[in-house]
């Protein structure tokens, strides 16, 4: 138990350190650029505005919010205090709404889309990869080239192709948005069905991309394990084939879990872009709106939340990994 505690404490510490680092980056990067950030923001925002007192008010509000008239360290603590209270300021492009309000709904769309898709893709990909390693021949010959090609496709490319085939040509699924444009979110059957229908295309295109990369990794891990000495020994002992396969796949699975932890950042990044293709009302589209509207607070808050999501997912995977792989405990107990 001591080993686990040390492992978890270690991982938790690392999680906090990376979070703080990400936070600092989020704070400093825009401020590294020459010039007054607030003046820059206001200048961009005020591009179509003629009302000088309005511009002045906006300037004052952001100068207060970011505290740009104070020293950098003081600014950092003001920013931190605001963020901890969930106060990201007002959104420029959707003015009366606060950034927190804009993001509140987007976060859930993104989480509900991406995490199931990545997990389902990971499971299907690993199963297919393991099957390819075990069955070999025809199955392997077909699956591998397809997987390699699919995994080389950019996320948004797969999204566009799925959209064109199933949304535009076959008209099986709607092509954009998270629910019917004529509906108001509520708990009626009609609304839930509409959400479900709109969910399919983004979901399956993310799954498809995830499958390719995972299947390739799992196949080579499984081939490696299938040739290991313990497999041959078990065969000599006469242990049933399915039981050996159970051992093999459990061992091959472990590096795949670490692989998932390492690739989750890339996957989330790609999936955000895929959301844009489907105009899915998640963080990707929010980011796009932020960029289009030169909405600095919205972008900064979105990136912070994306980082937080990825770091948390990483943390959870590593904790699970620690529980699954007993060697971790042993290594920490030394």
């Amino acid at each position: 138990m001591k080993g686990y505690r040390k492992y978890f404490a270690n991982k938790l510490l690392w999680f906090l350190v990376t979070l703080v680092a990400a936070f600092i980056l989020n704070f400093t990067l825009p401020r590294l650029m020459p010039g007054d950030p607030v003046a820059g923001i206001v200048a961009r925002l005020a591009q179509g505005m003629t009302n000088t007192s309005g511009i002045q008010a906006i300037y004052q509000q952001y100068a207060d919010l970011f505290g740009t008239n104070k020293p950098l360290v003081a600014q950092f603590f003001i920013y931190m205090k605001n963020v901890i209270h969930g106060d990201f300021g007002f959104s420029f492009s959707q003015y009366p709404r606060t950034v927190a309000d804009v993001l509140k709904s987007a976060i859930w769309w993104t989480i509900c889309l991406q995490f199931p898709a990545i997990i389902v893709g990971w499971i299907i990909g690993n199963t297919l990869g393991a099957l390819a390693a075990y069955l070999k021949k025809g199955f392997d010959k077909v699956l591998m080239p397809v997987s390699i090609f699919v995994s080389n496709f950019p996320f948004f490319g797969m999204a566009v192709i799925m959209l064109v085939i199933f949304g535009v040509w076959l008209k099986w699924f709607p092509t954009s948005s998270g629910y019917g444009f004529d509906l108001i979110p509520n708990f009626s059957f009609k609304f839930i069905w509409s959400v479900f229908i709109h969910y399919q295309l983004p979901f399956w295109s993310l799954v498809l991309i995830a499958i390719g990369g995972q299947a390739i990794g799992m196949r080579s891990m499984s081939i490696y394990e299938l040739n290991a000495d313990y497999v041959k020994y078990s065969r000599f002992l006469g242990i049933k084939d399915w039981k050996i396969i159970g051992y093999v796949f459990r061992n091959a699975m472990l590096p795949q879990i670490t692989g998932l932890a390492l690739s989750i950042g890339t996957m989330v990044g790609g999936a955000l872009i895929a959301e844009i293709v489907f105009s899915y009302p998640g963080l990707g589209v929010t980011l796009l709106h932020g960029v289009m509207g030169q909405d600095y607070p919205l972008i900064s808050a979105s990136t912070l939340i994306i980082t937080l999501m990825v770091l948390s997912a990483n943390f959870i995977i590593e904790i699970l990994y620690g529980i699954i792989d007993p060697r971790i405990k042993a290594a920490q107990a030394d």
Binding site: F149, P154, V160, V164, V168, G269, I273, L287, I306, L311
Partner: protein
């Protein structure tokens, strides 16, 4: 060296990837020699012209005409104006008008049109038809006018003095022009895009720019990764701790987040292709650094390195002579992957609207971005985005294949 190259080119995967890549490069370099013209010139008035050969109508009138007697010409002419859907729509209208179903034969064009012209009245409001539907029938009716006539068309020029049209030429239905003799013919193999620019010319330029961007970013990432990896791995100790801490930090923060923050901070005016390439390079070195470090650590205590140390060689000498040659193949492979990843990263950034801001050169990501903004995918204008996707996929696919091939040559343990 020669031996290694021979081995590399014997690897099937490498060869396939190499051929795809070289084919792409050749096309991209030869095409501008054949078809000149600025890649972003707006040539069409209107958006998304479908791919095809565009023949100047005015010039073809004055080109020498030839008479060809082709049997299926009339049938083709009718089919192009009146397809199956139109025929059944006409039948629907006639049935709704009150003609018995049995009298209408949609396959007999002549009787169908006779029946139509005898009964159709554009002003008549049939019950149950929407305005759009009614307008469709009016358009159809116009299209049908003169469809079955065997007369030619008369070309007339307006006399400026009298204002009277004077017949200059008659075009019979059996007249043909040879496309080679028409003065102005433009082939648009991939049509035009949302701004009215030739997609293929643009795509070729975009591929060059994107490859350049990928190579700059790949070199930057490899150099930084190599330097940090060598330092951390060879010197070890505190330096290693600090570098590894930093590397692990950058590793877990998603690259897209860094890219978004930096590109947005740079501001629109200053975001050129080179800037974006540098930004991508600066954010993607971590994998190389980590891998180089672990390789160097395993090399550090080999006998030949120790011997070199005992002989009093400097660190620089040891690194360049005793360590680099052993990791060179690995670094090259990593760089190939970096290049393809950088091209993808640029595409991702551009789709977010944070790509290079250029008015004179396109990139693959920007072309994709334009097509998406103008809803080419929903409108079914495949030529605006499919070729771009295909080129991106071909670049990454060929580079990955080359990488896998190299991996098989240099890591014999992986061969199966």
């Amino acid at each position: 060296m020669k031996n290694t190259l021979q081995q590399v080119f014997h690897s099937g995967k490498f060869l396939v990837g190499f051929c795809i890549f070289v084919g792409l490069l050749l096309f991209v370099f030869i095409y501008p020699l054949l078809i000149k013209g600025p890649p972003l010139q707006i040539i069409s008035q209107g958006t998304f012209f479908p791919p095809g050969t565009y023949v100047n109508v005015y010039d073809s009138l004055s080109s020498p005409s030839y008479i060809l007697n082709l049997d299926d010409a009339a049938a083709k002419r009718i089919a192009s104006k009146l397809n199956e859907d139109d025929r059944s729509a006409m039948k629907d209208w006639l049935v709704a008008f009150g003609i018995p179903d049995s009298q209408i034969d949609t396959s007999d064009t002549k009787s169908l049109i006779d029946l139509w012209t005898a009964n159709f009245d554009p002003k008549l409001q049939l019950e149950g038809y929407t305005n759009a539907k009614r307008n469709y029938y009016v358009r159809l009716n116009k299209n049908l006018a003169g469809l079955l006539s065997t007369e030619g068309a008369i070309i007339a020029v307006k006399n400026n003095d009298t204002g009277i049209l004077e017949e200059t030429n008659t075009v019979a239905q059996t007249d043909y022009v040879n496309v080679n003799e028409v003065a102005n013919v433009r082939v648009l193999p991939l049509g035009t895009d949302n701004f009215g620019r030739d997609v293929l010319t643009e795509l070729v330029k975009a591929t060059v720019v994107s490859l350049k961007l990928g190579i700059i970013a790949g070199i930057i990432a490899t150099v930084i990764g190599l330097a940090l990896g060598l330092l951390a791995g060879y010197i070890g100790g505190r330096v290693d701790d600090v570098i590894m801490f930093f590397t692990n930090l950058v590793l877990v923060i998603p690259q897209i987040v860094l890219l978004i923050l930096i590109s947005f901070s740079i501001g629109q005016e200053k975001r050129g292709v080179t800037t974006i390439a540098i930004v991508i390079g600066l954010t993607s070195w971590v994998w190389t650094a980590k891998a180089v470090r672990s390789q160097v650590i395993s090399l550090r205590n080999r006998d030949h390195v120790n011997l070199s140390k005992l002989s009093g060689h400097s660190i620089v000498h040891i690194i360049t002579n005793d360590i680099l040659p052993y990791i060179a193949s690995y670094v090259v492979m990593a760089m190939i992957l970096q290049i393809s990843a950088a091209i993808l990263a640029e595409a991702n950034l551009s789709l977010l609207g944070l790509g290079p801001r250029t008015t004179d050169v396109p990139t693959l990501g920007l072309m994709m971005n334009w097509a998406m903004i103008y809803q080419a995918h929903v409108l079914g204008k495949w030529w605006a985005y499919m070729p771009v996707l295909l080129v991106i996929a071909m670049i990454t696919f060929s580079m990955n294949l080359m990488n896998t091939g190299l991996d098989h040559v240099f890591n014999p343990a992986l061969r199966d």
